[in-house]
Amino acid sequence: MRLASYWRTRQQRLGLVGEICPHCGKPLFPPRDVCPACHGPAKEPYRFSGKGTVYSFSTVYSAPEGFEAYVPYVVALVKLEEGPLVTAQLTDVSKEEVSIGMPVEMVTRKLREDGDAGLVAYNFKFRPVLQAVIDEPVSLSATA
């Protein structure tokens, strides 16, 4: 990614800020300024919750230039709870644990270090929704 493009898309990458159509209410991510549903202008910023589910995914073993150092990694289409699909890597999860329908949430992570440009690219990734699971009360006594 070029530096200018990186700067231009910072709101989207770091805050998952898209747009919402003021005419038909369709939430849009990435932002596109013209609503694809009703074709009206749609420039109202809209911050997505970052919650969604895995719609499809793939573990990439053979990476395009710039991503060779990170294989294997999991790329997914995430269906945001507001409606749109978004392309992103999954993180904090092993590839065997990923399944379609799995609840995920957005986090900000380093995506890659761009060798030539020296740019450390941060972007959104999604991780499984953390669930506080306590199976049994923790015993504080040291009787064992």
Partner: protein, 404 residues
Amino acid sequence: MRGVALYIRSQTDRRLDRHLRDVSIIGIGQTPVGEHWDKPLRVLGTEAVRAALADAGVECPEALYVGNMLSGQLLGQENVGALIADHAGLSGIEAYKIEAACASGAAAFRTAYMAVASGLCDVVVACGVEKMTDTLTDETTGALVAAADAEFEGEHGLSFVGINALLMQRYLYEHGYDRQDFSGFAINAHRNAANNPNAMFRKKISAEAFARAKIIAEPVSLLDSSGIGDGAAAAVLASADWARAHGKRQVRVAASAAATDAVALHDRDDLLFLRAAWLSARKAYAQAGVSPKDIDFFELHDAFTIMSALSLEATGFAERGQGVRLAMEDAIALNGRIPICTMGGLKARGHPVGATGMYQIVEAAQQLLGAAGANQLPNCRLGMTQNIGGSGATVVTHILERAG
């Protein structure tokens, strides 16, 4: 969807051919697909153009349209239209490069078709050319990602294989297939390529080999994927009147249509429906006055096995979720209900991306001229070609008809 409905009506209900002249292919040429270490882009393009002109018995066409995707990225060379015109001995004529990712070849053919059908030109050449093996594989696959959305797909490390993997994974999930169910597409392509002297992979493969193939991006394996290579293919187009007056052998262009969809997968309303494939096929059927059951064979865009299934569904040869069944039942074989990839397809003839659409056209013309050798289909009259750019963003469909 209101816009789309209006669009379809405007494109299919009115008579598309009201002002158009009939257009025919009067000559074809191609180089083998492979690693042409000794030949630069200009030489490959020149060989195909000269071969097509010689086949047509034409000395100097009025224009040259060159389909190419990667010359700028991989070779640092643009202005490819003029370059090939000059080297093919056609310096002085109008010439452009046409770029529409992997659909560049058919887009160049359609541009040539429009030039003749409109009456602006009588005789033109369309050529597709790509040079992909001068660079390392990483660099070439990195460049191919440019057919996707660079800022919102490519940026996340999604390779082109990865994009097709997302489609295939969802397809397996929704329709309950196993990845092995797609083996028939690859087996058919390799079987047909075995008899094509211009094909890159002329070895048959087995279902066992498909099962064992190395996974590139789960669930897509090496044998789901087409092989990239160098190559060029070309055709000479002329108005049917001119061709008749000059006694040329003709293959009629019965329909030419193109359509677009969102470039990024995540921007599509319906992930497993190739809307542009459906739109362009629908327009082509309307122009030719035919339906899928009239089509004798289909040169589809099997860049990945999942694309074959989705293309068969979008063009009306199978219901949704049933495209892969045509491969499982071998209905796609040369003697099947709807033969596809009759000369090996992208999978085994090879996929020199910007040239591929022209290979499809040239091979369909070979079938209709009775020049397909051991793979000749008996009594074929109508052949359809469909060239897909990106994962379905640009789709160009043609229907060719045997003359007489």
